[in-house]
Subunit: 321 residues, 2 copies
Amino acid sequence: MRAVIVEAPGDVDVLTLGEADTPTPGPGEVLVRTVASGVNRADILQRQGHYPPPPGVTDIIGLEASGVVERVGEGVERWKEGDEVVALLSGGGYAEFFVAPEGQLIPPPPGVDLVSAAGVLEVAATVLSNLRVGNLAHGEVFLVHGGAGGIGTFATQYAKALGAVVAATAGSEDKLRHCREHGADFAFDYHGDWVSALKEATGGADVILDIIGAKYLEANVKALKKRGRMVVIGLQGGVKGTLNLGLLLSKQATISATSLRFRPAAEKAEICAAVEAQVWPMLGDGRIRLSPETRIAFDDVRAAHELLSGGSNVGKIVLVH
Amino acid sequence: MRAVIVEAPGDVDVLTLGEADTPTPGPGEVLVRTVASGVNRADILQRQGHYPPPPGVTDIIGLEASGVVERVGEGVERWKEGDEVVALLSGGGYAEFFVAPEGQLIPPPPGVDLVSAAGVLEVAATVLSNLRVGNLAHGEVFLVHGGAGGIGTFATQYAKALGAVVAATAGSEDKLRHCREHGADFAFDYHGDWVSALKEATGGADVILDIIGAKYLEANVKALKKRGRMVVIGLQGGVKGTLNLGLLLSKQATISATSLRFRPAAEKAEICAAVEAQVWPMLGDGRIRLSPETRIAFDDVRAAHELLSGGSNVGKIVLVH
């Protein structure tokens, strides 16, 4: 099959189209012919050698994809040849075919075509699973950084649908408007003193979803309310930061760091089921609206990575096969 | 009533015996004539001005005490004049009388006299409530620092009773022996590379109960297993430390900082009930053994603080009225 091959970590040039063995579905697994592959920031990190796949996983990049079931392995009950699916993957999405455990496949969201659907599950599963870690409750204050990004836009709408008061940070007037248009009650420019602004407006955050890491660690702890929970899922602002444990203790607060990719398959399946049950209806009735995705031909994978790295793109990028 | 008065924060000299108004029990509260007052490290911090009482709480020091019920407020159901009780307090224990909400009083442990009992509830409630935060499960690896101290000795025995594998750190051969004698499966000298020793012996800690704070932050994160939970309840080694969020993320780990004192009354009552139901039987049948306490006359409160600050004392210190 055709697949994106990376011989050695590096810049976009290391992404080359080549041939790989078509994978064979084991017991409980499903072979899917790819329609489109979602492109995620983690893919760039993996290409650069900073985010190796978990043990036993293909080294072909790609954390999500959509497609049509080609063949099912032993014991697979839900799926049959010809079914349309989206998949949450530990790797392997940048290829003509991929295999996934039965539970990591769900139907595309209602009314969304398979190409658009390729870029939805990873962000939905990330947001749903991590707001569970933060245990966000109705009426609580939720803060998300990068409010105009893929995770931020989704998290804002999802948290609103859960009944939270939502605050988002972003770096330009356009992006702040994007946050408000997607339901953020408050949008703060991160170039300013967003901690004070947040506290003044809301008293502080009960739950923070953070993709920045070290750079925001001290500010995030300051921004937390008593009993606040901070969930770190990205490290775009560095790895090692200063933690004021005295402040954390006086707030009785918690910092969790999690990622979807390294969770065991059973948990991923449970998360996919929750996305299908809880998030797909929100997409169906418009409580969550997706920004139009940017479609790029599979052969132009380098252009897709360049576009995502550039940071100017709004909405998801998908590779069309 | 007689009480320990602190006019201004400072050294032991600021502790003076004086007179204060005998408190009046409000609805749901109980007035208790003190038999003995437990002395805790937090009392020293409060005397020094580093640990002010929560809003609305007396500024008389003292987080736990034992005594005999003198009078009950409106609506109190469980207690009547003459009942023997131990109390978990937000303050006020260093006095001839104290008041406490009904739910923060429980009977002394079976077979323990009221003087010894004055020093048990604070440590029991601290350990029980914080191992709940860490969600310690049967068969998991539990690490406690200061294994020969009051919290360490109690936590070791309690975690063993819950079925955990217990590792403790301490700083001398005597103290390491104390840890083993109280059930620690592994005891490590903190002057050496205890992280490597722990990992070699157990694979790492599922739950860490930490009283050190900043100084051990990096080492604790290294010592955690995948999905490990670290619960910081003390800052004897400083407030601001370096947190490696990348390592925390790769382990999907969590850091919580909590203290018993600042929890709402309803939670304290629930914790006291759990101590009575779960911990008192362990004291009754010997699964948890208390080190003999050091008894000091109430009038010699300065000597008690000096002894605790000196660090040579083993077991609890109680002030006898």
